[in-house]
Assembly symmetry: C2
Homo-oligomer: 424 residues x 2
Amino acid sequence: MTDRATATKNDIVAALDAADPLGRFRGHFAFGEPELIYLDGNSLGRMPAAVPTHIGNLLNTEWGERLIRGWNEGWMELPRRLGAKIAQIIGAFEDEVIVADSTSVNLYKAALAACLAQPHRTRIITDNLNFPSDLYVLQGLTTVRSDLEVVVVPSPDAIHGPTDEIIDLIDDTTALVSLSHAAFKSGFLYDMSAVSAAARHHGALTLWDLSHSVGAVPVDVNVVGADLAVGCTYKYLNGGPGAPAFIFVSRDVPAVLSNPIPGWMGHRSPFTFDRNYTPSIDITRFQTGTPPVIAMSAMEPGVDLVLEAGVDALRAKSIQQTDMLVRLWAELLEPRGFTLNSPRQAERRGSHVSLGHEEGLRIDMALIREMQVLPDFRAPDNIRLGIAPIYTRFDDILEAVHRIARVVDERLFEGYSTNPPAVT
Amino acid sequence: MTDRATATKNDIVAALDAADPLGRFRGHFAFGEPELIYLDGNSLGRMPAAVPTHIGNLLNTEWGERLIRGWNEGWMELPRRLGAKIAQIIGAFEDEVIVADSTSVNLYKAALAACLAQPHRTRIITDNLNFPSDLYVLQGLTTVRSDLEVVVVPSPDAIHGPTDEIIDLIDDTTALVSLSHAAFKSGFLYDMSAVSAAARHHGALTLWDLSHSVGAVPVDVNVVGADLAVGCTYKYLNGGPGAPAFIFVSRDVPAVLSNPIPGWMGHRSPFTFDRNYTPSIDITRFQTGTPPVIAMSAMEPGVDLVLEAGVDALRAKSIQQTDMLVRLWAELLEPRGFTLNSPRQAERRGSHVSLGHEEGLRIDMALIREMQVLPDFRAPDNIRLGIAPIYTRFDDILEAVHRIARVVDERLFEGYSTNPPAVT
C-alpha cells in the first residue's frame, strides 16, 4: 500500500469517526489503558465510567448503612427492574424477562422446563456451532430424562449454521430447538423467524442463547415468535465480569412452564416462609436463590447506555464497521494468509469477525504483548475481532488491521509458543 | 429493676466489652448509622470496611484497565481460592469446596447428584425446621425422579429438631438426609456427628445447609463425616447482599458425583471449547457458568476477617452473648409476655435467639422505626435477635433488651399494622 493510499484511508476513518452519531458514548466508558485497541468487547465489555460511583454508593449507603433494609428499598426489585430493561432491548414484554443466575444455569432451567412440559416429545435439536456450555447443559438433560436425544446438526462449513437441515429435522417428536442466535466462533447469525416458525408449526419450543447478539444486534423475540431465551450481560451489555444472566419466557408458550429448580425467590410470597412451594404467577418464578445485588447493580449502567444508544443505531454502526473490516481483510490480510471465518453477508453476521491463520494463536499473542491490540483467540485458528459499536472507533479497526499486517510482515509471532491462553 | 441493678448491669457489660478479645474486629466494619443496634447479622452481615477500596480497585484497575486479561490474572482462580478459605472455616480440605451460584442452586446440584448416584434408594429425609427454599428444592427433585419420596419429619416443639426420629427413619432406602445445621427460625443446632454417623451406617448420604452456622459455629465436616454441604456467605461471613454461595463435596463420598448442571466452567479444560463435556477431576466440576467476579471479590474481606478472628473464639463469644440474652429474657422479657423460641442449651443453639410474642410483628416494627434496634421477624411470632460476635457488643444486647421492654411497657407497637415486612 502506498503512503498516499494510507493517508486516504486515515482521512476516511477520521471522517467516519467525526460523523459517528454514537461517538459521544465512548466518553461514557473507562479507558484505563488509553492506547490499547480493545477488540474483545464480545467477550468482556468495557466498564461504563459510572460504575465505580454507582457501586460505591451501593456499598457505602445501602449495604454499609441501610443494611437489611436494602431489600425493602430496592434490592428485591432489581431482578425484575433490570429484566424489564433487557426486555426492551430484546423486544419482550417487561414481565417476560428476569435477571438471575448464570447463562448456563438459566439455559438448564429453560431447557428442562420445556422438556418436562412435553413428556411425549423426545428430541432436542441444536448445532455444532453452539457454545460448548450450551451443548453440555443440553446433553446433561439426558441424565434426568433418559428418553431424550440431543441431535447436534453439523454446520456445512464451520461458518454458517445449518438452517435448512434444522428446519427439515423439526417434527412432532421435537421438544426443543436450542441454538445460539450468533455463533461464538464465526459470528453467524441465525434467522430466528425462520427457525421459530418451523418449530411452532410442529408444536416444538425454541430456546435461543442471545449471549453474542444482545446489545449489538436487534432481537425482537415476540415478533419472531421465540418461546424461550437466555443471555449474558457481560459482553455487549457491558455488565461486568461474570455479571448475572437473563432468562426470557414468552407469555405465548402454550404450557405453563415450571422452574425445575424451585427456590424461595420464585415463590409467590417468599417472606411468608411457607413450607409448600407456590410459584409466582409471573417470570419471577424462574428465580431460585437470593439475587446477587452487587453484581446486578454493577450491570445497570451498561444496560442503560445500550438503551440510550438504541440497538438499531448500534447495529447500523456495527455493520458499517464489520463491513469495513471485511474489506480491509480482503485488501490487506487475505494476501498475508488470513481466511475470513465469518459470514460475508452483513445480515448473517453478528458484531465480531473471525480471521483464520495457521499462526493464529501466535499472532494473537504478539498482538496482545507487542502491538497494544487485544482480540481473543478460539481454536483451531480464529482470531476474533470483536466490535462493540458503543465504544469502538473506525480508526481502531484500521489501525488494528495495520498492526496485524505488521506482525505477519515482521514475523513478530515467532517468539511465542502455542500454549493456549485462558481467556474467556 | 432498680437503678442500682441497671447500673450494675451496665458495669458488667462495659467490663465484658472492654475485656473482649474480639473487640478490635468491630473497627473493621462499616457503621454507616452509628447509633443503630444491628441484630440481623444472621440475615445480612455488616460490610467490612475494606470492601469499598477492595472493589474500587477491582473496578478501576482490573475491569477498567486489564479488561479480559483479568481472567488470566486472578479471576479464574477466585472460586477455588475463596473455596479454599471457606474450607478452612468448615474443616474441609481445600479441594473440597468451591464458591458458585446461590445456596438453593448448589443445594439442587448436590441433592440431585446424590440421588442420581444412588438410583435404588428412593427416600430423602428432611425436617420441617428446614429453610423453605431447601424444602422446595428437595421436593422439586421428584419432577425429575418420580420414584423419590421426600419425608419431612415434624419437629417435636417448633424449636428442637427431631434428631431421634430422623436417625430411626434412616434405612437402606434412604438416598439423602438433608438438614439445616442451624434452624433459621429457632436457631436449633443439629448434632451433625450423630446424624451423619447414622446415615453412613446405612449407606445414605448427608447434605447439610450451613447457611445459619458458618462463621459463627464451629463446623468440622470431615470430623463429623458429612458428605455434602452448601452454605451462604452473606450472613456471618459478611460477604454482601446475595453474595455467591459455596458447595462442599467430601473426598470420601463413595460414588463419584456428577454435577447435574454441567457447564463450561466445570470442564477439565474450559478454553479448549470441546463439544463434549469432560468434567474437572476435582470440585471445580461443581461449577457451571462464569463466576460472578465482582460479587465474589466483595466477599473476600469478610471471609478473611472470620479466618483472622477464628471460629472457636467467635463461638465462645457468641455463647457468652446468647447466654446473656437468655438470662436477660428470663429476667426482663418473660414477665412481659415473651417466650423463648430457641433452645436453652447453648450447645444446641446457633448464634441467634428467637423471642416469641403475640405482638411480635408490631414490636419488631416499633423497634426498627422508633428504637434504632434492627432485628428481623419470622412468622408466626418470632423476633429474631441475631448475634454476630465479630461486631456485636455485650452492651448492644443489654440495650436492645431494655428497648424491647420499653416498647412493651409504653405500648409503642400499637401504632403499627400487621402487614408482614419483606426482609430476608
